[in-house]
């Protein structure tokens, strides 16, 4: 009984962790969109803010985070070609989805065109910079992991020699 309860708790912890990781990314996307949209409205001198649009951007951020997570969902070693392809999809998803979402949901209805172009003009470099930063992070993490592996091997060699 206790073992079963522990298993259920462990599963829930696992699901909650996945959800939390997706939500962190959702906040990053959602916040970037909302802030950029508000900034562009401020630049063109618009004061009114539609809460519906803010909620929509929040939801789009959440959707993007989950779609990006699904791109690397499978627990397997991808081939270099497959990994590169998924990386491109991961990076392109926000670019591909934000533009039609803005059009369909009418985030820029009644606003000067500069507002819309400014919005995408700021978001596109942001997504690209984020991708470059992620690449840098994984390169650094790989280097640290290999240093740890070397240390571990040297250490275990020393242990067995003692």
């Amino acid at each position: 009984m206790i073992r079963k309860c522990k298993e259920i708790i462990s599963k829930w912890e696992h699901y909650i962790r996945i959800e939390m990781e997706a939500e962190v990314m959702a906040c990053v996307h959602g916040y970037a969109m909302i802030l950029t949209w508000l900034f562009m409205k401020f630049v063109v001198g618009e004061d009114g803010v539609s809460l519906l649009y803010v909620v929509e951007m929040g939801f789009l951020g959440y959707l993007l985070a989950w779609l990006q997570r699904l791109v690397f969902w499978k627990e397997k070693a991808y081939s270099i070609r497959e990994y590169r392809l998924r990386e491109i999809v991961w990076c392109a998803l926000p670019l591909v989805l934000t533009f039609p979402a803005g059009k369909i949901l009418g985030w820029f209805a009644g606003l000067p065109a500069v507002c819309e172009w400014g919005f995408y003009g700021l978001l596109v470099p942001y997504y690209i910079v984020m991708w470059i930063m992620m690449k840098r992070f994984f390169r650094k993490d790989t280097r640290q992991l290999n240093e740890l592996l070397d240390e571990y091997k040297a250490d275990s060699g020393n242990r067995s020699e003692e």
């Binding site: 990781e21 990994y83 992991l145 091997k153 250490d155 275990s156």
Partner: protein
């Protein structure tokens, strides 16, 4: 306790021999014998009609496929009559041993891991010395990092 390693070129090809000199065989000595014996665990492997005894240092990784567990050596693959859980216990995977559970279906020998690559989705790819690659799953990646850093992992580790 004094420890001495004596190299003897004339014993080339023979198994290493451990001799313990002591005034009497006490608890400490018995523990030491057990520890040394645990380093020489051999795993029975079978391949069609052939059977053999596999030395743990020759095994690169174990993988469970369709309910069967296989030991992967540099070039050979042998089926072993154990579950991954029992192998984990037998090899003390993750408790000062060079074997570590890296996914639901795989235990890897860290001594044969050549390089590691951090990937998106919080997973790590382990490149083996024979050119194969195995994946350290999201669930085990954190424990794996701790194990490399501190040589141990949490008590709740499912080996």
């Amino acid at each position: 306790m004094k420890i001495k390693v004596i190299e003897n070129k004339h014993r080339a090809g023979e198994e290493p021999e451990v001799v313990i000199y002591c005034s009497e065989e006490n608890q400490e000595i018995r523990r030491l014998v057990k520890l040394i014996q645990s380093m020489d665990i051999r795993i029975a492997g079978s391949n069609e009609n052939v059977s053999c005894s596999l030395r743990q240092e020759d095994i690169y990784y174990f993988e469970a496929v369709d309910g069967k567990v296989f030991a992967y050596l540099e070039k050979e693959v042998w089926q072993v009559p154990h579950s991954l859980e029992s192998l984990g216990r037998l090899l003390k995977a993750g408790r000062g041993s060079s074997f570590f559970r890296i996914s639901k279906s795989c235990i890897v020998n860290l001594d044969h891991v050549e390089h590691l690559t951090s990937m998106m989705g919080n997973r790590i790819i382990a490149g083996m010395e024979n050119g194969e690659e195995v994946i350290i799953s999201r669930h085990y990646a954190g424990m794996f990092r701790d194990y490399l850093k501190y040589g141990r992992c949490g008590d709740d580790t499912e080996m």
